[in-house]
């Protein structure tokens, strides 16, 4: 049996007066694509924050999160800092707020890149960083790199911003990439491109993916295994193909039915 990259055991998250996530357990193997499905208030985003050690101080975790052999719950900030970037990187929903509005895009990609090169003891001079940056920009299929590295976030489209955010995450060479609703703010045509890009990149680089979304169809295209969350608890988990075609839980069934109805509408009205 292979060692799990991420193992979450009995994770509970709570503030002073209420529980937000209850008794959650799941694992992600190296290179595996895992989906977290849930509507607003389900606790899916909090779970992802807990995994990357980014929980706000008002939320107290209990249970265990073992990422790449290291315990995250209760770990000191410094250890978490090195874990982020080394083991885990995150792409957020809204690339406009996730990027620094006052910094050229090239510089924003260069920062995590230089950190990784230093960490790996590789030369991190301007020329090396620039060379690696070109590779990354090619990898995320951004057009016109010359113009792009000098542009500011507001000067490029939403899809391009999200590609930059992906490039920044990849610059860290993480073992786990967390994508928290990365296509929700995008147009459908752009969403389609980003989904394809993410899938091929994690495959190519052997990175595990934790994909968080409320959109069942998108999750179904992206991942191998899914977990469905509601009100902070897991209601169902299993292979995506099983859960999305033959759900056992009634809540999952409601979601699947709803998604099918919009699909059916697209086939034309009778």
């Amino acid at each position: 049996m292979t060692q799990d990259l991420l193992s979450v055991q009995n994770l509970s998250l709570s503030t002073a007066d209420k529980g937000l996530v209850k008794n959650l357990s799941f694992t992600i193997a190296p290179g595996e694509r895992f989906g977290l499905i849930g509507e607003s208030g389900s606790g899916k985003s909090l779970t992802s924050l807990a995994v990357s050690g980014l929980l706000p101080p008002s939320i107290k975790p209990s249970g265990r999160i073992i990422l790449d052999g290291q315990e995250i719950v209760g770990a000191p900030g410094k250890q978490l800092d090195s874990l982020r970037g080394d083991a885990v990187a995150t792409v957020f929903q809204e690339p406009l707020t996730a990027l620094d509005p006052l910094m050229p895009l090239g510089k924003q990609i260069a920062l995590p890149l230089r950190r990784r090169l230093r960490r790996e003891g590789k030369p991190s001079g301007r020329a090396e960083v620039n060379r690696h940056m070109r590779d990354l920009i090619d990898q995320v299929r951004l057009p016109d790199p010359e113009r792009l590295v000098r542009a500011y976030p507001h000067e490029v489209s939403g899809g391009q911003r999200q590609r930059v955010a992906i490039a920044m995450a990849l610059a860290c060479r993480p073992k786990l990439l967390i994508a928290d609703e990365p296509t929700t703010a995008l147009d459908v045509t752009t969403q389609d491109q980003i989904i394809k890009l993410l899938t091929s990149l994690v495959d190519e680089l052997g990175i595990a993916l934790m994909f968080i979304s409320h959109d069942l169809a998108v999750v179904g295209q992206m991942v191998e295994r899914v977990m469905v969350m509601r009100n902070g608890a897991c209601v169902e988990s299993g292979l995506a193909a099983d859960v999305l075609t033959a759900p056992k839980d009634s809540y999952t069934q409601t979601l699947v039915d709803a998604a099918h109805r919009f699909d059916a509408a697209l086939e034309g009205r009778s």
């Binding site: 389609d192 169809a217 699947v256």
Partner: protein, 250 residues
């Protein structure tokens, strides 16, 4: 039988390139028409024109045979009695400082519609599936889906002929969205509706006709079934192909 007719409408903001160019389509009385487009398609601007919040620089909009005069307050008063709207974000479209009763009866008060306003509000709130005692509460006491129902109650309370919905279900969760779509379907039997949305699935579920917008122009318009089965314009084709579908059931 045409309720709303848009004729060669063009619009641009000050010192900008045109946001809308040569837009023409009609909305038959009783129909549900979807205006579909992605960001930058000009659909929000078009909606503002239909609501009389801006005036087109070119072309004209005819409502029930007469031109929409956005600058005439007398005309707008009678127009508002017949045309109401539901907006995208149920968290920002209800004033947090008022009770639901006040929010729902705003059109009745503003348009000086005679009658027992509380009774009319009770009827509207029941029609959208909420309990009458909701009227005494404040917006923050409701979930997103419930708020959108309240917004719909406000739009139908004055019994308009036409309801314009701006991405009215996009901000809702899937399980809530399907129920609000059902609600729209139900109330659309009594009135004409225009749905502005980027979500082809929702529009397909609700509308008999679709107008597809891209970069300020209409690229394709027609019956929903025809467009879904055989999209003619490459943009419509790629739009339909991009929509993620559920894995096929057993």
């Amino acid at each position: 039988m045409t309720l709303l007719s848009v004729e060669n409408v063009g619009f641009s903001y000050r010192s900008g390139k045109p946001v809308l160019e040569d837009i023409s389509f009609t909305v038959p009385r009783g129909a549900n028409v979807g205006l579909v487009g992605e960001s930058g398609s000009g659909k929000s601007t078009l909606l503002r024109l239909l609501l009389g919040l801006d005036s087109p620089q070119k072309g004209r909009i005819l409502f029930d045979g007469a031109p929409l005069e956005a600058r005439s307050s007398g005309y707008m008063r009678s127009y508002r009695k017949r045309v109401q709207a539901v907006f995208q974000d149920p968290y920002s479209s209800l004033d947090p400082s008022h009770r639901i009763l006040r929010i729902i009866t705003e059109p009745l008060r503003a348009l000086k519609i005679p009658g027992d306003h509380r009774q009319m509000a009770t009827k509207a709130i029941t029609a959208v599936g909420l309990a009458p005692d909701s009227l005494e509460r404040y917006p923050h006491q409701f979930s997103g889906g419930q708020r959108q129902r309240i917004a719909i109650a406000r739009a139908i309370v004055a019994r308009p002929d036409l309801v314009l919905a701006d991405e009215a279900v996009s901000a809702l969760d899937l399980s809530t969205r399907i129920r609000v779509v059902d609600l729209f379907e139900e109330i659309s039997e009594a009135m004409t509706m225009v749905f502005v949305s980027h979500d082809m699935g929702v529009v397909a579920a609700l509308c008999d006709q679709i107008v597809v917008l891209d970069k300020g122009r209409i690229v394709e318009a027609g019956l929903t079934n025809d467009i879904l089965r055989a999209p003619k314009h490459p943009y419509t084709q790629s739009l339909l192909a991009s929509i993620p579908r559920m894995p096929a059931g057993s």
